[in-house]
């Protein structure tokens, strides 16, 4: 046996090398069922992009997660995983400082401006890896809807369309909107006899809230808005939230997620005054690529008034607004089938 090996050592080595090269070749990637994790290195940060789904037509939907403090794979849920991934590939991206993104940079290098550049960098990487002809769509949910316009204002030529899902294009305006929206919803629910004591308390909370948009005042009403959505769900005003990850339950390091969330929130929300200083309302007119605006009728976190504002201000000739009647801030959890139908129709129309 030893002799046979010695005599054929060169042949075996060459065969192994060929096998190695073949096994590493790009052809191995099944574009119909992509399942890849790549990292984007940009401005001292390494950020993961989890790419799943059908890339046969080289159509990619990049999802910008909410927060600040969320993470990419939380969105690989329900019909996004089962329907949208069947139509096109979906790129779940951990933004700078979030979840599994790592790096070595100063606090000054955490800003909406640099984070928008990161998303542009991600788009360039996808085009470099899968081909310049790849069609990219950008979807921003909540805080991702702040980063979305910031990205498109840097370079919208990279994208074939923008999907704004309850996006906070005007974080600075949220506080004033809470003070109007919460009493409106509270009165509506009291009239319906739903959880009356809770909504009466909300009326008091808003009544006693400071007219000035400070971080403390904002946080109080933001928490009230999140809790209010839970009450609406309990009273069956909206559909129950469903988060089905199938066999792909994200197994992230929870302590790392929480730690990173706290750090990034401290920088963007506390230090940089995200909810006191930032607005993209006046710049939305510069976004001219086809746009789809999706919102839950009972969104208390980014009130539904911003849906119309986004639609009216976007500069695209081809734009559409759709309101989910039984949803709050996350229609992909409340009405997943309708959500994916709307997204798929938009992508297929503009790809």
């Amino acid at each position: 046996m030893q002799k046979i090996i010695q005599n054929n050592i060169k042949g075996i080595a060459i065969a192994l090398m060929v096998l190695g090269i073949v096994s590493c070749s790009k052809d191995d990637v099944n574009l119909n069922e992509l399942d890849e994790t790549i990292f984007v290195r940009h401005k001292k940060a390494d950020m993961p992009a989890y790419i799943h789904g059908n890339a046969a037509e080289k159509v990619f939907l990049i999802i910008l997660h909410g927060g600040p403090g969320g993470n990419g794979l939380w969105y690989r849920v329900n019909s996004i995983r089962t329907e949208i991934e069947r139509n096109n590939a979906v790129v779940y991206f951990d933004q700078r400082g979030h979840n599994n993104a790592q790096g070595n940079y100063s606090e000054k290098e955490v800003s909406i401006d640099i984070m928008a550049e990161d998303v542009v960098a991600l788009a360039k990487v996808i085009k470099a890896k899968y081909g310049e002809g790849s069609k990219l769509f950008l979807m921003g949910h909540s805080w991702g809807g702040t980063l979305g316009p910031a990205t498109l204002l840097k370079n919208q030529d990279l994208f074939s369309g923008y999907i704004n899902v309850a996006g906070a294009h005007d974080p600075k305006g949220l506080y004033a909107a809470y003070r109007t929206n919460l009493p409106r919803v509270a009165n509506e629910q009291i009239a319906l006899g739903n959880t009356v004591a809770y909504w009466k308390n909300i009326l008091d909370v808003v009544q006693n809230s400071d007219a000035t948009n400070s971080l403390t005042a904002f946080s109080k009403l933001n928490i009230a808005s999140h809790q209010g959505e839970q009450k609406l769900e309990a009273d069956k005003v909206i559909n129950a939230s469903k988060a089905d990850y199938g066999d792909d339950q994200p197994s992230n390091n929870l302590s790392k997620i929480r730690w990173n969330s706290a750090q990034i929130q401290d920088m963007l929300v506390v230090e940089q005054g995200l909810f006191q200083k930032v607005t993209f309302t006046d710049s939305l007119a510069e976004i001219t690529i086809p746009s789809l605006v999706l919102w839950g009728k009972y969104d208390l976190v980014v009130p539904t008034v911003f849906a119309q504002e986004a639609f009216d201000n976007l500069g695209a000739n081809e734009k559409e607004l759709f309101i989910f009647e039984k949803s709050a801030h996350s229609p992909m959890l409340n009405e997943p089938d309708l959500f994916s139908a709307k997204v798929i129709a938009f992508i297929n129309r503009h790809k």
Binding site: F39, A128, N252, S255
Partner: protein
Amino acid sequence: MKQYTIIFLFVYAVHFQAQSQFDGATFLERTAFKIGYHGNVFSDNGLHLGAEYLWKEKIRVKEKRKGPKTITHQLLFNGSIGYVTNFTNRTDNGLHTHYGLIWRRTSPKRWQWNLEVNPLGYYRSFLPETFEVKGDEVSKVQFPGRSYYAPSVAIGIGRNRPEKRRSGWYLNLNCTLRIPYNAGTLPTFSVQYGHRFNFKKK
């Protein structure tokens, strides 16, 4: 930072070797090796290997009614290396190595308390396919990953099996820092469970 860590590790290794020649006992007689699980069970899992070299030992015998009670306090040099990965998201692969001291108390019934302080530590993350973007240039990164200074502390329990080849087990709760991580420091928490063994001549 990387250079300083390497110099520290080198000086430490020389010091470590010098100590082993300090008295009559051989290096192997004073050293226990260890192997075990390292991770947080839910997401990141891996293995670690290491060695503990007995530096100082104080044995106190208390006379009790039921007979003498022996309590041992030890100071040991500690060195370990390990690899941890997240099998599902492929983003949390890393090699770590730690060097420091262990204080250990062993009760008459062989139960042990461990307190481990490792001021010297290094963590190297290994990333999957990575692309660097500079302006419009996109290039593939060779050997992608990052290096971190990674000191750690651990506290735990264990049990000693004197005169046995497999000389005991330990269960530690470990906290390791990765510095600098993003715009600050990342603390990571993990469990270490393993067994010690030795190559003492019987």
